[in-house]
Symmetry: C2
Subunit: 271 residues, 2 copies
């Protein structure tokens, strides 16, 4: 009965147990997934715990992603580029760190029938989420990636992750085929991460925020005629990639999405 | 979503996950129970892991019971007497070691309507299981406990655990109200732990072996007219006491027993 778990702090409200357990059940895998609240600074001890207890796989969330990247035995390419790990995989006695967020986002665009190859993508933001998206888009055949951020230094660091990426300005949002909000603006509120007047109907607008699921940005973009892609799909598809890494079996993303929707609905009723 | 787990080596065939998860489900408790294979010598590291990950409770089995007793912050009385821990409970930042095996056995006798108060009990064997039974019977109002074992020195050490206990001989088996096989003789085979000609129909015969559930001893004792008490009930009732310690909620032993029977039946079909 192998165990997988998310480590984070706080972690009580993580959707990951609902997603992963639904996928394990649907695939008739004898795995269980739980959440461990691990204190800041204890990521290395959590990896020791993983070794001692033979835990089969870990998801890693705030504030441990960088500490875990420093503590695993080996980093897969995306995690090495980002110096950040969201997935730990056991390879015999070795622990290997991966980062599935960016590839999960690219898979979600694909599942949404959004063409990535040849596209010009504006990524708004330069934090960890933005970095993972830039890195993955850079490997996905985009024509150009433009990083738009208030702090130019951080934008340059994010753009350095992909050969096709550069730092841009708000005007680049208007010229992009795909616009990605990779800031946290819009989380739990009605703020917009940039001037929505820049959007037009030929564009796809993706938000990485999924609380609320329909952000003010997506609502405004839809009203402007854009195709919109919500933030929950990235969570779903990065989890799909985690399960492939842990179990070798690819779960159906529909199962994880349904579990995520059900859990969010349950919480909305409870709140 | 609190986690409890058994640590042992080997542990893959432990019945504990089936018992505990059935009880959590029946009680609508948001707990999950898994098995961790922890290498010999790593019990201290497993307790560190429990602290780091915030694991809610541990069951401890071979070969870790003594090492855990040495590594917890505090020992409850039975565990202190036995220098052996089968249950670790979180009390804030402190880990407290308990031993529920003996009390589980006494509870199982009670659930089987076997009067313990005032009884003369012969305990055959002097290992860890025998010691836990002697300790618990000594607190349960028995009139006398007689420890019968091939190695007298170990018998004396076990008898020292209860004021009412002494070392005895095979003849004491014939004189006892309750006879307990606390050796492993009969496990997976047809051997008898002592001369069954000593038994007579006024006696209760309890076997701690539960694989097979109907041991050669219990079959022979039943044929001699004795009341018989199988070994699975001790496993069930010690698990009930573990859940009380971890969650504060007392599960129905019937639920755990049904889960144990179902799991054993499932394995018999699979074998």
């Amino acid at each position: 009965m192998p165990l997988a778990a998310v480590i984070g702090h706080p972690v009580a409200h993580s959707l990951s147990p609902a997603l992963h357990n639904a996928a394990f059940a649907a695939g008739r895998l004898d795995w269980t997934y739980v959440a461990f609240d691990v204190a800041p600074g204890a990521a290395g001890a959590a990896l020791d715990a993983m070794r001692t207890l033979g835990i089969g796989g870990l998801s890693v969330t705030m504030p441990h992603k960088e500490d875990v990247a420093a503590a695993v035995d080996e980093l897969a390419p995306a995690a090495a580029a980002l110096r950040s790990v969201n997935t730990v995989v056991r390879d015999g006695d070795r622990l290997v760190g991966h980062s599935t967020d960016g590839d999960g986002f690219v898979d979600w665009l694909g599942a949404s029938a959004v063409p990535v190859a040849g596209a010009v993508v504006a990524v708004v933001g330069a934090g960890a989420a933005a970095r993972s998206v830039v890195d993955a888009l850079g490997r996905a055949g985009t024509d150009a990636i433009v990083v738009v951020n208030r702090t130019p230094g951080r934008a340059a660091a994010a753009a350095a992750l992909a050969a096709s990426a550069r730092v841009g300005t708000a005007d680049d949002i208007a010229r992009a085929d795909i616009v990605v909000n990779a800031t946290s603006v819009g989380m739990g509120g009605d703020e917009l991460p940039f001037d929505a007047g820049l959007l037009h109907e030929a564009q796809v607008v993706a938000d990485l925020v999924y609380h609320p699921l329909e952000t003010a940005l997506l609502r405004t973009a839809a009203a402007a005629g854009c195709r919109v892609v919500d933030g929950l799909g990235m969570l779903v598809h990065q989890a799909v990639l985690q399960q492939v890494l842990w179990t070798g079996v690819r779960p159906d993303p529909i199962v994880l999405r349904a579990a995520a929707d059900a859990e969010l609905a349950r919480r909305a009723v409870a709140a």
